[in-house]
């Protein structure tokens, strides 16, 4: 496995008796990416995170974090990783600041109390840092969890549904914080079911279902490949035939009498020109941008549930 990757996995599998939670998962997560890990409930997202963090052992396959084997290289991995797994959990009888102290010391590093105060302020808990965690709301625990992941300034940060329980303003703050951390060079492994959130902050994405990887790539490439141009032209059949004649294009009937063409926007003028030259009237040309949500639904829906909309081309 290469050290150029923050996380790599090959054939990672976790089986609980008759249930396969994660099935031969391959991951390639470059350093410095904000990586969205998407999947419906029970897809194996948290199991994958637990395996990468050494909390559970893979049944087969292997994973490397920062070039170190996730099972045998824990001593090298641990100081460089911060994580929230499933939901942040704390000692309810300790204050927020004391919880951070315990977690920091558990990393076997000397505690910098000024950094604890700074982190509490960064996640909006400056006023509540001296209160016991049992008085915290779910959103406050989530914020404290994010502060906990940043304690030792780790290279990789695992965030499992980090905006759960946050109000809209808190969600935006956390999203901004994740973007900032990504720009600062941290690798973020973001497990979330909020597709909009992932689309906004992630540079790369993977979709898993029933423990299997369905899709992996950069958000930009995936969305570009699944986006297309919708052209309304008459006569329709002639226009479709002409466009289909070009082997570089993928043209098919779209909705409402349109033709869906997989092409880049800079190819549009020559397309229109070709149609007009062939005496075909062009009434409307517009770009149809796919969203991560469409990608996700298309990739995770059962065959009989698959929508009859435009075919989505994705990069595997």
């Amino acid at each position: 496995m290469s050290e150029g990757y923050a996380i790599q996995a090959r054939g990672l599998t976790k089986r609980y008796k008759h249930v396969v939670a994660v099935n031969t998962l391959d991951l390639d997560i470059p350093r410095g990416t904000v990586y969205g890990f998407l999947g419906p409930n029970g897809a194996g997202k948290t199991t994958t995170i637990r395996m990468l963090l050494g909390l559970i052992r893979p049944t087969s396959g292997r994973a490397a974090v920062l070039g170190h084997d996730s099972r045998t290289g824990r001593h090298a991995i641990a100081p460089k990783v911060g994580a929230i797994v499933e939901s942040p959990t704390f000692y309810p009888y300790l204050t927020g600041a004391q919880n951070l102290e315990v977690l920091w010391r558990s990393s076997n590093m000397p505690v910098d109390r000024r950094r604890i105060e700074m982190l509490l302020a960064r996640v909006g808990l400056a006023e509540r840092g001296k209160h016991t965690v049992k008085t915290y709301s779910l959103g406050m625990k989530q914020r404290l969890g994010i502060a906990a992941t940043l304690l030792t300034d780790p290279e990789i940060i695992f965030l499992d549904e980090p905006t759960n329980g946050l109000d809209p303003a808190g969600t935006v703050e956390v999203r901004t914080l994740i973007g900032q951390l990504g720009r600062d060079g941290h690798t973020i492994f973001l497990s979330s079911h909020l597709l909009n959130e992932v689309e906004q902050v992630c540079t790369d994405v993977a979709i898993v279902q029933k423990g299997e990887l369905k899709l992996q790539g950069t958000v930009r490439d995936l969305l570009a490949q699944s986006s297309h141009i919708l052209i309304k032209a008459a006569p329709h059949e002639r226009a479709l035939s002409l466009l289909r004649a070009d082997p570089a294009l993928q043209a098919r009937p779209g909705e409402d009498g349109t033709i869906a063409v997989t092409a880049a926007m800079d190819e549009v003028p020559s397309l229109i020109s070709a149609l007009v030259s062939a005496d075909i009237a062009v009434y409307d040309v517009r770009e149809h941008r796919s969203t991560l949500e469409q990608l996700f639904l298309d990739r995770t829906a059962q065959p009989h549930e698959r929508p009859h909309g435009p075919h989505v081309e994705v990069m595997e």
């Binding site: 909390l55 704390f90 000692y91 300790l94 315990v102 558990s106």
Partner: protein, 294 residues
């Protein structure tokens, strides 16, 4: 592997948990109440009424070294329960709050977290003993010098006997605590740890007490049980080493059952082997088993 930072983290958790403070306070508070009540009674009862035993009780409980003996006796009586609850809740709460998943990925040696708990537990036990001394010794001094309750001289009592007895009691507590640690790790539950600790202690003591009866019917079984039961070894240590009973066949209950003197060094070794084996098993299970959440 175990570091000062891990110890400080564990100590912060230990001292901030209310149940730990309560557990640490129970026995010293009980001793203080007994001594103060006995002193008040002795001082407030008219002189002619003292002959019926109240002053004699005070003389046998309050002044040094009687106060030391009483403290060790009370600790031996209730200490095991305190140890069981302390260890089970300390380890079990990490499963209950699901906090292992937050701290374990932070340090490369998972076993260190459990060993740190064991060491902090041992330190807390020593703190309990220190607290008991800090309560009974000054109260004994007050009774003896301020209230003029002089020590009963009809019974001879060497302080070294109490100290040795305390050492054996602490060894048996370490055994019970380590067993509870193992049970809690296996069950991943504080309640299961408490129940297992109490059950195991009760059953072992029961079998130990029944050994003379068992020996009458099936001497071979009794002999085997006496060798296997850690309680028998601690009991022999208590009788032979702490209280100075003769090592011969008729000297201690264990010697009577196994039919030969049992060297205290062997008792100590077997006790330590039990503790080491259970600690090793706890660490092995904790290190290898999945932490798949609650």
């Amino acid at each position: 592997m175990i570091t000062l930072n891990l110890l400080r983290a564990e100590w912060l958790k230990t001292r901030k948990r209310r149940i730990n403070r309560a557990l640490l306070a129970i026995i010293p508070a009980l001793l203080a109440v007994i001594m103060i009540l006995v002193m008040i009674k002795a001082v407030t009862t008219p002189g002619e009424a003292l002959g019926d035993g109240m002053l004699r009780d005070a003389k046998q409980l309050v002044p040094y070294p009687h106060n030391l003996r009483m403290a060790v006796s009370l600790l031996a009586e209730f200490g095991s329960l305190v140890v069981i609850v302390f260890v089970a809740t300390s380890v079990g709460s990490e499963y209950g709050y699901d906090t292992w998943k937050g701290i374990v990925p932070r340090y490369g040696h998972r076993a260190a977290f459990l060993l740190t708990k064991w060491i902090v537990g041992l330190s807390t036990l020593l703190l309990l003993v220190a607290t008991i001394f800090a309560v009974v010794l000054p109260l004994g001094w007050v009774g003896e010098t301020v209230l003029a309750i002089s020590a009963d001289t009809t019974t001879t009592l060497a302080p070294s006997v109490s100290v040795k007895s305390l050492a054996v009691t602490l060894l048996s507590f370490v055994f019970i605590g380590t067993f509870t640690l193992l049970a809690t790790v296996v069950a991943r539950s504080a309640v299961a740890g408490v129940v297992s600790g109490i059950l195991a202690t009760t059953i072992m003591l029961l079998i130990h007490d029944l050994l003379p009866e068992i020996a009458e019917g099936t001497p071979l079984l009794a002999k085997g049980l006496a060798w296997i039961l850690p309680v028998s070894h601690f009991s022999n240590l208590q009788h032979q080493w702490a209280q100075g009973a003769p090592a011969g066949e008729a000297g201690t209950p264990m010697a009577l059952i196994v039919g030969q003197p049992v060297p205290v060094a062997l008792n100590l070794l077997i006790g330590l082997v039990y503790i080491g084996a259970m600690l090793g098993a706890s660490v092995a299970i904790f290190s290898r088993r999945d932490m798949a959440g609650e």
